[in-house]
Subunit: 228 residues, 2 copies
Amino acid sequence: MRVLAFDVFGTVVDWHGSIVRELDAMGLGVSAAEFARAWRAGYKPAMQRVMSGELGWTLLDDLHRMILDDVLRRFAVRGLDESRIRHLNRVWHRLDPWPDSVSGLARLKARFMICSLSNGNIGLLAGMAKHAGLPWDCILSAEVFRAYKPDPSTYLGVARIFDVAPADVLMVAAHHDDLAAARDCGLQTAYIERPLEFGPDQPKDVSPRAENTLHAQNLEELADMLGC
Amino acid sequence: MRVLAFDVFGTVVDWHGSIVRELDAMGLGVSAAEFARAWRAGYKPAMQRVMSGELGWTLLDDLHRMILDDVLRRFAVRGLDESRIRHLNRVWHRLDPWPDSVSGLARLKARFMICSLSNGNIGLLAGMAKHAGLPWDCILSAEVFRAYKPDPSTYLGVARIFDVAPADVLMVAAHHDDLAAARDCGLQTAYIERPLEFGPDQPKDVSPRAENTLHAQNLEELADMLGC
């Protein structure tokens, strides 16, 4: 194992909690927990429209904005001017890390090349890394490959960029579908438990699955397992 | 100014000194200073073959190898097996920073988004950053844009990725041609003096030119000028 590639949303940063905190501070009079989940739920269908060719290549910032406009309508939020909507849309650049993420990544970085492999655009991921103090060696994004995960070109692209075999790359994610697609490309996989990814009122099943190479509660435990 | 984009070879790292040290340690019986300069001199013509369409898109690692094979022949170096040649070719991943680079970048990073903008491929730049401790917020490369500097799509690509106006980007380089191309795209420019880029036996003219926004001896002085 030489390169660790990390899913970001939900795995390294707490999108739900971060968005809820920002929405609550805005006082919009909606259920922030539901609003955040609705925004996130629009993500896969929007990417699907790009990958099917219905939409041309679109940065995640712009997909987030299309979904946000729709969610604002559905939740009947009125009175936000364009500059506040633009600012809210960039909350994805301001997501906070899980408590173990920065220290865990720092330990893993001492021994491995660590990179993001996220559907977020480069500017989003770089802004988030600066905000959250994520010590990436390298930010890799769907934008580099012009394809979203789970397209094989993204997982294989990591191996190609670092000139290593796919089995020398460990894909780290809190989502089994992401890991399954990486495994199909020959990568090793580590599942990270993030039971509260969707909020404390919607805990998710984080039971181990035998097909993953590793299963860890968090990034500190992953560092322990990898002898960092 | 919100984003600082750095040329890397010669501006942030000392390619000549680093390659000379490695060649001397190998004991090849050639003038290491001349060998290093010959290798580097093949770089622009090789990129030109790509940009003219004569060669398809090629990573700098592979261009370096093509040039290296030629330079080894011209300097009549024999007896290096494939694994040593491969290792030598990756010396570009192991270049050492100038003495002010790491501390200067760290100061600049506290106030600006700092990224590379280099014709090196992503894997090369990430390996070098890890080796040299370069604290990039983001590694941008010709590989992201599928075009080499001085193609305008590289300079304008930095502004696009960070969603800022070209004038909000400062291109930082020790080469006037790089800065001139950036300026033509509307970026601001900072010239960094690196009089010994080509070795102590070939000092280069580093006189100021009025067309640059800033002129600094090194990255610490640039941080001073920018109030970091």
